[in-house]
Symmetry: C2
Subunit: 399 residues, 2 copies
Amino acid sequence: MDDVTAAFDLLSRGAEEILLVEDLLTKLKTGKPLRIKAGFDPTAPDLHLGHTVLLNKMRQFQELGHEVIFLIGDFTGMIGDPSGKNITRPPLTREDVEENAITYRKQIFKVLHPEKTKIMMNSQWMDQLSALDLIKLAATHTVARMLERDDFHKRYSSGQSIAIHEFLYPLMQGYDSVAMHADVELGGTDQKFNLLMGRELQKHVGQSPQVVITMPLLLGLDGVKKMSKSLNNYIGIDESPQEIFGKVMSISDETMWTYFELVSFRPMTEIHRWREEIDQGLNPRDIKFRLAEELVERFHDHTAAKQAHENFVQQFQQGVIPTDLAEAHLKVGEQGLVIANIIKSAGLTASTSEALRMIQQGAVKVDGERVNDKDLVFTKGQEFVLQVGKRRFAKVILN
Amino acid sequence: MDDVTAAFDLLSRGAEEILLVEDLLTKLKTGKPLRIKAGFDPTAPDLHLGHTVLLNKMRQFQELGHEVIFLIGDFTGMIGDPSGKNITRPPLTREDVEENAITYRKQIFKVLHPEKTKIMMNSQWMDQLSALDLIKLAATHTVARMLERDDFHKRYSSGQSIAIHEFLYPLMQGYDSVAMHADVELGGTDQKFNLLMGRELQKHVGQSPQVVITMPLLLGLDGVKKMSKSLNNYIGIDESPQEIFGKVMSISDETMWTYFELVSFRPMTEIHRWREEIDQGLNPRDIKFRLAEELVERFHDHTAAKQAHENFVQQFQQGVIPTDLAEAHLKVGEQGLVIANIIKSAGLTASTSEALRMIQQGAVKVDGERVNDKDLVFTKGQEFVLQVGKRRFAKVILN
C-alpha cells in the first residue's frame, strides 16, 4: 500500500461522504501539506464524545502532516440574533469569545496536537467585509437553491419563518473557505449543504474547490438517538474517569463497534480482528474494556484509565465497595431517620418514593447487606456505607 | 379650506395610494418642511412624459415649501450584475454616474425648481455599510415576506431564478429612507412593496415612518398600454415642439383627462369646468390644444408653444404645407421613377408596398393634389412637395 492509499484509507475511516474522492486523491498526491478547516460555534463549549468524532478526523490529518485549522465562527456569534426575536441569545462580546476559545483549547487538546493546531476566528476577515462584498456573495446563489437545504425547505413548506439573513450564513461559511484557501473542510452530515457552499464559492473565485468530508453523528449511550446533552445520553469529555469508564461499559455490543470506528484510534485491522475473536467466543465485555480504557486515557491519563478499570471490575464484578466514597453527613432528631429519607437526603435517589421503590426491588444495601424493611430506622452516631442500584454509593454519617 | 386641507388636496391629486393618509395629515400639520424622497435609476436617463408624473408630484411638494430630494441609486448601479450572468449590464463607473446626473439635471429641471432640488446619491451612505450592517438589515424581514412581492412571487412560482442579492435590494432601498430620514417617499405603483420597506425599517430603528405615495403609470399615446420607449407610444421631453404638440393632439379625448390630472399643472377645478364645457358642446380639440401648449411650453418655452400650435393648425386644419420641409434628393435614370418608389426613397413610408397602400387610400398628395394613379412616373429635373398621410412631408428633388 503506497502512502497516498494509506492516507486515504485512514482519512475515509468512518466518513459518511467524501466530495469528491478524486479531488482528495489529487490533493494528497501533491505531497504538500493541505489546509484542513473545521468550523465550531463560538458559544460556550462543553464538549462531549460526539464532538470528538470531528476532532479525531482532524487529528488524523495532523498525523499525516497537514495543517489543521480550528475555526471559531465568532463573527456571526457577535451579531447575536439580529432579528431581535430571540432575546435569550444575546450577542457575544469579544471577551466572551476569547474566554470560550480558552475553554475550547483546554478540551480540544485532549484530542488534537496543541503545537500542530491553528485556532482562527472568522471575524479576522469578516470584519473587513463590506455590504458590497456581501451583495456580490449573495448574487452567486439563487433563492431556490437555498430553499433546497433540508431545514430551510421544511420550515418554508410548513409556514415557519426564515429570516433573510439566514440565507446569508451558508454563504459566509463558504466565504470562510475562500478567505482561508481551505483544501478540505470537515463537518457533520447535517452540515453538508454549507460545506458544499465553500466548494462552489471557491470555484467561483477560481480557487481549487475544497474537498468536503462529512462525519456521521455519534450515537448516544442508548444506541438509538444521536449523542446530545439534552437527551442525557452523552459522555462529557470533562467527566471523571469513573463516569466515562462506566458509561462506555453501559453501551450495547453493537453500538461499541460504531464507537470503535469513530472515536477509537486503534487501527481498523485490529478492530476487525477483535470482532473475529468475539465471533469465536471471546466475551465482548473484554473488548469494551479496551475502548473504555482508551477513552479514559485520552481524556485523563494512563493511570486513571487503569484505576477506573480496576474500580469497575471490583465494584461491578466483585461487589466491592469503592474506597473513595462521597460522605453524607445528616442531622437526625430523637426519633432517628427512616431508611428511605436517608437515601434521598444522601442524594442517591431524587425522591423518597423512588427510594421506597428501590428498597422494594431489593436494590438497596447497607454495609453490603440488602435492606428489605422499608421502615428501618437509624439513629444519631451511626455510620455506614449505603448503596442504591449498582453504581450509587455514599458513606452516611448521622449526627 | 385651511392650508393643510389645500395641501393635502394638491398632493393627493392623481395619486394611486397614500399610506397612511393620517400620517401625511399629521406631518403636514406640524408646519415643518418635510423631506421628500424619490429614487431614480443611475443608468443613462432619457426621460419621457411618463416619468414626469413623479417629477410633477415632487414639484407640488416644492411649491408647498418642502425639501425635495432627487435620489440617484448609484450604489447598486455601480455593482452591475454581480451574478455575472447579464454581461450586457456592465457596472457603471463613478464617471458614468456623474455624467448621467448631469443629463438628469438638464431634463428634470424642466419640471423641478433647480434651486429647491437636492440631488443625492445613495453611495454616500451605502459605501459605509458593512456586511454586518447588511446582515442586521436582512434579519428584519423573512423570506416569505419577500416572496410576497409580485414579481418575486411570479418568478418563484414559475421556476424562474431569483438571485439572493435581489432580496437585499428592497431592504437597501428601505435603508436609504432611514439614512435620509425621509418623511415621504414617492414612486410608481410598481414600487409599492419597496416603498413600504422604508416605512418598516424606519419603524424598526425608531424613526417616524415615511408616508408612501404611489403614482399610477401614465398611459401611452395609444391610451391602452403604459407609456414606454419600447412600445413607441411615448412623448420624449427632449422632442421638438412640433412633435410634442402633434403627439398630444393624437391622444383620445378620454386619455386626455388622465393626462390633465397627471401631467398638467392646471388646477383640477379648472379642468372640471372644461369637462362641463365639452358636455355642453365645446370641441374637445380646443381643450386638447391647451394641454399640448402647456407641455410644449414646459419642455421648451412660451413662443415655441404658440408656434407649434399655429403650425399644427395650418398643417392639419388648413392643409398648408409647412415651410421647413426636409429635402429628398433622388437620382433617377432614363425611365424616371414611379411614385411609390419615390415615396419610399424619400423615407415617407417604410416600404414600397406601404406606399402603394397609401396611394390606394388616397393619402398621397403631390404639391397638394391627391395622387390616384399608382403608375405615375416622375423624371429628372422635377421638384415637388410630397405628402403622405396628415403629417409626413418631403420636398423631392429628382436629378
